[in-house]
Amino acid sequence: MIKKDLSIEFLGVHFENPFCLSSSPVGNCYDMCKKAYEVGWGGVVFKTIGPKSYVIDEVSPRFDKLNKENTPFVGFKNMEQIAEHSLEENLRDLRRLKKEFPNKVLIASIMGNDEQTWEDLARMVDEAGADMIELNFSCPQMTSHAMGSDVGTNPELCKKYCQAVKRGSKLPMMAKMTPNITDMVPCAVACLEGGADGIAAINTIKSICNIDLDKKIGLPIVDGKSAISGYSGKAVKPVALRFIQQMRQDPRLKDLQVSGIGGIETWEDAAEFILVGASTLQVTTGIMQYGYRIVEDMKNGLMHYMEEQGVDHLSELVGLANKNIIPAENLNRDYIVRPDIDLNKCVKCGRCYISCYDGGHQAIEWDAEKREPSCNTDKCVGCLLCGHVCPVGAIKPGKISIKPGRKTKAEDVRL
């Protein structure tokens, strides 16, 4: 079995590996976090601890999932709020976890409802032994508008609460941001101004997953009604990567330290978040579907990836893709790359023809006699939709043509 050092520093804290439970149902008590540590997770963000005055009262049932064809859990909808255990129980669990797992990272997620409660919670989790604090500015299903994602869209509140937490504790702290916003940067900037050391992104996206067609109610049904709540899982990965990229590119957030969250379940997902600038990674939905064990293949796969990339420290990979993701207006528009159809691989299903006709530029032609596709280069605009729909990967980018009057040389184009 390959052995590579997966450790990384994040906000001054040493993680034996970047994989953490995110603050959610998967890190809800001592037993769960203990098992996660034992299975190999590097850190735990304990389920968000709220003020004593705020009583958690959950609905039942509280989840729903989006399927596509035979793939369940494309996305996952969750209505749980923050930790339902008492403040005392949560603090006791934090203490016990830190005592029994001193080398693992313990992050306390907190959520106050005014400056005083933010400050008090920070002090209490600090005293309980947390290594780091995460400020939950982003839960989209809180039953109070003074809490959750309504805070995370308001830069002034973000800053004020960060300052309050800083008064309560000197621990490193990160603010967990909501994607239910057009631009995350102003809020992230406000958090750093208020004293946050880094950003965790993203929390869940407000959603309605499915509607029961007979009852005309969204799912899950709670006594004949439903509500909008947070969406997560593989489907949100693209949204998460985009927000992290945008923050890391903004000059006001240069070298921003990020804990990446959003649909991570394979080592490839993890590597993608690292390449857009995440130093640590947080997971919930993958665990809810498959269990803590998914960390085994994420760790092992990431080690093999490091080996292939020839790096000894994970930090060498952080943010390597940032500079290669640029504004669309700056992309080279001088050329067209047309599909190369490998007829030896082609199983003659005609899906490329259908998609090109109905969703492209009618460039794929179909020889009905031979049942074989070909590309009419006069019509082809090089969108390569055909390659995406091909079920056997028989269509790859092929010949590059330069548009008339353009300066780019075909041999210089990097595909």
């Binding site: 079995m1 390959i2 793939t71 379940e265 394979t266 080592w267 490839e268 498959y290 064990r293 998914i294 085994e296 293949d297 994420m298 092992n300 796969g301 093999h304 079920p391 056997v392 990967g393």
Partner: protein, 410 residues
């Protein structure tokens, strides 16, 4: 030469189809597949690795558990072991674990992974007699414990029974590659050395701290009725020759096979793939008590072999064979140009200082013999598993631990 014999009967998975198959896996809690593997491999883990796109991790799991992972992937009767209890059967059909393992080991070879690494020599050495599956696995397990290992093979080709599993099931290049991997680990092979004749057991005992006997059931049994007739061959000799000649043998158009084990099924299918028109297999057992792997039985039937169950041979005149049913009153008369006997095998242990009872050494507990320096594994060792490749791998892994315990480890 008929190329059908040389071509894989069952296509392998590609990157797309292996992911589809792995996605069918229910990733169950107490995976029955992993409890059932004689080699101790845990398919639930390597399928999960494939499912989560960690192909290299999957290859590590297979290889670290089984030095013959690529071979077992092709020849293991998975329906008896890992696939037997598969929870997916509760929905439709079990996961095709063998074929997933085959994809993984092909991938391992394609990207040139070197997973097993020998530690520093511990200063002790073991000599192994035979180079079949059990011997090869024992060699690797011992090497990984730091022992110097030398293997003595009586034939000029390594692999023992692996060299008679037909090419369409187990290509020679796969066996060659597995053996090369073992050589690269530092195991030394001596070909054409018949221990008991060319070299004595005492020679080996002098040269090594322990000797492991793994001669295997390499000789085919003859039935008295058929003895002395020119057109009668033994299955193991036939299969070995066909494989060595890459299918380039002449066979008549009407062949009678006697026997109902995996070796008989290999003969059946081989005959068909060589182009023999009429292949009739008469089997002592009735279908309900059949010994052969179901997969191989069905494979032979699919190829058009006529299989008749429940009959015993009663006479043979060089051309015509007569059979009688074991239970009902029924007789059978078959005329054939060639008769292939696949009615069992036996080992040759002469000069090896051990006595066999029912084909097994039963002189000490488990893998021991009367001689504290001499151990046994493979076919001649008693094991609760069948005498298959994977059964051999099991004994090879276990005997290495016994030898290590007896030699005091490092």
């Amino acid at each position: 030469m008929d190329s059908k014999y040389l071509k894989s009967l069952e296509p392998g998975f590609d990157p797309l189809t292996v992911c589809e198959e792995a996605s069918r896996c229910l990733l169950c809690l107490d995976a029955p597949c992993s409890k059932a593997c004689p080699a101790g491999t845990n398919p639930d883990k390597f399928i999960r690795s494939v499912r989560f796109r960690n192909f290299k991790g999957a290859a590590e799991i297979v290889r670290e558990n089984n030095a013959l992972g690529a071979i077992c992937a092709r020849v293991c009767p998975t329906e008896k072991y890992c696939q037997k209890g598969c929870s997916r059967s509760g929905i439709d059909r079990p996961i095709d674990i063998g074929r997933i393992q085959r994809y993984i080991t092909d991938y391992e070879e394609a990207v040139k992974m070197e997973i097993l690494k020998a530690p520093k020599d511990n200063g002790k050495s073991v000599g192994i007699v035979g180079s079949g599956p059990a011997a090869l696995q024992a060699a690797v397990s011992l090497r990984l414990l730091g022992y110097k290992v030398e293997v003595y093979e009586k034939e000029n080709v390594l692999g023992g029974m692996l060299r008679l599993i037909p090419e369409y099931r187990l290509p020679d290049r796969v066996v060659d590659h597995e053996i090369k991997r073992i050589e690269d680990l530092g195991v030394k092979f001596h070909k054409g050395v018949f221990v008991g004749k060319d070299k004595s057991l005492d020679d080996l005992k002098k040269a090594h701290d322990a000797v492991l006997l793994a001669p295997g059931y390499s000789y085919g049994k003859m039935l008295q009725l058929f003895e002395g007739h020119k057109n009668v061959v033994l299955a193991v000799d036939f299969l070995r020759e066909v494989k060595a000649k890459k299918g380039g043998v002449k066979v008549p158009n009407n062949v009678l096979v006697v026997g109902g084990g995996d070796v008989a099924m290999d003969v059946n299918a081989t005959m068909k793939l060589l182009g023999v028109e009429h292949v009739t297999d008469v089997v002592y057992e009735q279908f309900v008590e059949f010994k052969a792997s179901k997969k191989e039985l069905e494979g032979a039937q699919r190829l058009g072999v006529t299989i008749i169950d429940g009959y015993v041979p009663v006479s043979f005149d060089g051309k015509k064979a007569k059979f009688a049913h074991r239970v009902i009153k029924s007789e059978l008369e078959i005329e054939a140009d060639l008769v292939v006997l696949a009615v069992g095998q036996y080992p040759d242990v002469s000069g090896l200082g051990v006595e066999l009872v029912k084909g097994e050494v039963n002189e000490g507990a488990d893998y021991h013999t009367k001689d504290p320096k001499v151990f046994v594994c493979g076919d001649i060792a008693h094991s609760r598993f069948d005498k298959t490749v994977v059964g051999g791998v099991r004994t090879g892994k276990e005997v290495a631990l016994y030898i290590d315990a007896s030699l005091g480890g490092k």
